[in-house]
Symmetry: C2
Subunit: 339 residues, 2 copies
């Protein structure tokens, strides 16, 4: 039987804002399995902001996504054929399957495919709170911000897959968690469902003075840690409110992904407030994954760590879902359901 | 006998660039010594960029210098009268005597006055390479940049009291040291006398592209550590050349001291290059002083650590010498000789 594999490839690089025209849906035949290989039917595809960086050429922290090749992306799925003794048909696995229905993988390479337990956790959690976004939140919070009880931690994109976990982990450590999110509904979710102490709707504060005032009201004792997911004016406003010896973990700068650099208004605050600002990419800190996944998995399984998913249906919906993610249209973790 | 004490007080706060009119020379009588007090005849006054920050009101890392009071400043001098058993007439001491000829001090307060050894080191060294500027260099280099052998460390204001020590300490640790200084003469001093591997005359590179090109030529393997003394365009140019996991120690931002914030052009490089940027003030890290002073004192006494001084004569010359320091007119450590 010949299996048909639907794939989405990068057809062209965006100039400025990306569009659906940058992607192309292709069909190929799944080749015969070779010894050592495993065929996975992808169930969920993860969509993440970092993919925007890969679409462009030029200096970034990773190789650009090659043109004409399947878009990179994290996936969870089921082994449907195996010529590798470490994997059996029916195993549920997490890997980097890309934007396609099937993933044919040389499963002998270390870490390329990992079996996951779906009796205590839903499969999709391994792409979110118990996957790369969760570990990202854990690393930035515990290894860079390292909040003490009673300190205040602010996180932007607080309703997102990373930000939501940051605030909940901060609260579990006795810190005050204050989110920034776009819109009343997201803010209500952040405080009521995720349990943050406060959430600021940045859309109600279009200028630096207004946003800085909102931060002052929400953080009466100042800000000790900031988990940065967006950059731009929000960073400037937070820096004005940072306490001495504050820590800023720089995880993302969505605002700058389209190529136009967005300046930091007042870097002399780094000296005035003796700040530490550190950029990081979680895939470069593999030592953090086991302790992070242990805490995150337990917290999700016991209902202490909450998250939400936005699920697009079918591979063809991936480009529009991704463009929506870049505009903040998703709510929590953005997934594409393939099965 | 009544001693007359000449003092320079802050007469007014600068609006924008400071001028001589902000200072006023006063004369007062030295009061009678009380029990526990020590009278010091100041021999040298230290002039340092941080004093600019103290002249203004508003948020800074320290209390503003009060109007009408003697300007703050480090001093070395000789005990000329003592009602404190810990100090005898003739002792040479370092302290924060301020811009004045005599300092009357309650010497019982811990750390307010320290005896120094002038048999192995010249008295003025305790205001420079073996004083606050030296410890500042030591802290930023060893505790934040922490260079590995073979790495490249760049330092701005490289001919200054702090920058010159940074590069020499970096070289002592097997790193490549590249300075930035203003003018051919200063650059020659940095490479020929201080032994840096290279020095860039930033006055020859008035725009970002030109300066970035010069940094590329001087740092063929990129930049791993940057000791920041100035801010502004130099910081932007250095950031473009930083290697992954580079460290930036922020010690000063002279360019911003006059109140106008100077933006950082491309903060997304913090994420792209996974940089760590940390501001610090050496007086908040007292644990660093003993090991720093030990290394610095030995290196100066054995001739391994070199420095230069610019010495203004007489207290009345202090304001002009300070204004010149802010414009980079000094060469090495700026002192005022009072005796």
């Amino acid at each position: 039987m010949t299996l048909i594999n639907q794939q989405i490839v990068l057809a062209s690089r965006p100039e400025g804002e990306p569009s659906a025209a940058n992607f192309e849906l292709m069909e190929t035949k799944v080749p015969e399995l070779q010894d050592g290989q495993v065929l996975v039917r992808n169930h969920y595809l993860s969509l993440d902001p970092y993919m925007r960086g890969r679409m462009s050429e030029g200096k970034s922290y990773a190789q650009p996504q090659p043109l004409g090749e399947v878009m990179i992306g994290g996936t969870v799925g089921e082994v449907v054929a195996s010529k590798n003794t470490a994997f059996a048909v029916g195993d549920m696995v997490v890997g980097m399957g890309g934007w396609q229905d099937y993933q044919l993988v040389d499963a002998g390479q270390r870490g390329v495919l990992q079996k996951v337990d779906t009796t205590h956790l839903p499969l999709s959690a391994y792409l979110g709170a118990v996957g790369m976004p969760g570990v990202t939140a854990w690393y930035g919070l515990t290894q860079i911000i390292a909040p003490k009880p009673g300190e205040t931690v602010v996180v932007s994109a607080a309703s997102g897959a990373v930000g939501g976990v940051v605030g909940q982990l901060a609260r579990a450590r006795g810190a005050r968690a204050v989110g920034l999110a776009g819109g009343r509904e997201k803010c209500a979710y952040v405080t009521e469902e995720l349990g943050f102490d406060a959430c600021i709707d940045y859309k109600q504060h279009p200028d630096l003075k207004s946003l800085s005032g909102a931060l002052k009201a929400a953080c009466p004792k100042g800000i000790d840690g900031y988990f940065e997911n967006v950059g731009g004016m929000i960073l400037d406003a937070v820096m004005l409110r940072m306490n001495a010896f504050g820590r800023i973990a720089v995880c993302g700068m969505i605002a700058g992904y389209n190529g136009e650099p967005i300046p930091m208004a007042n870097p002399s605050l780094i000296l005035m407030s003796r700040l530490k600002i550190e950029g990081f990419i979680v895939s470069e800190h593999m030592e953090a994954w086991p302790p992070a996944l242990k805490e995150l998995g337990t917290a999700v399984a016991t209902g202490k760590l909450k998250y939400r998913e936005t699920v697009a249906e079918g591979l063809a919906s991936a480009p529009q879902a991704f463009l929506g993610l870049l505009k903040g249209r998703n709510f929590g973790k953005q997934l594409v359901k393939l099965v």
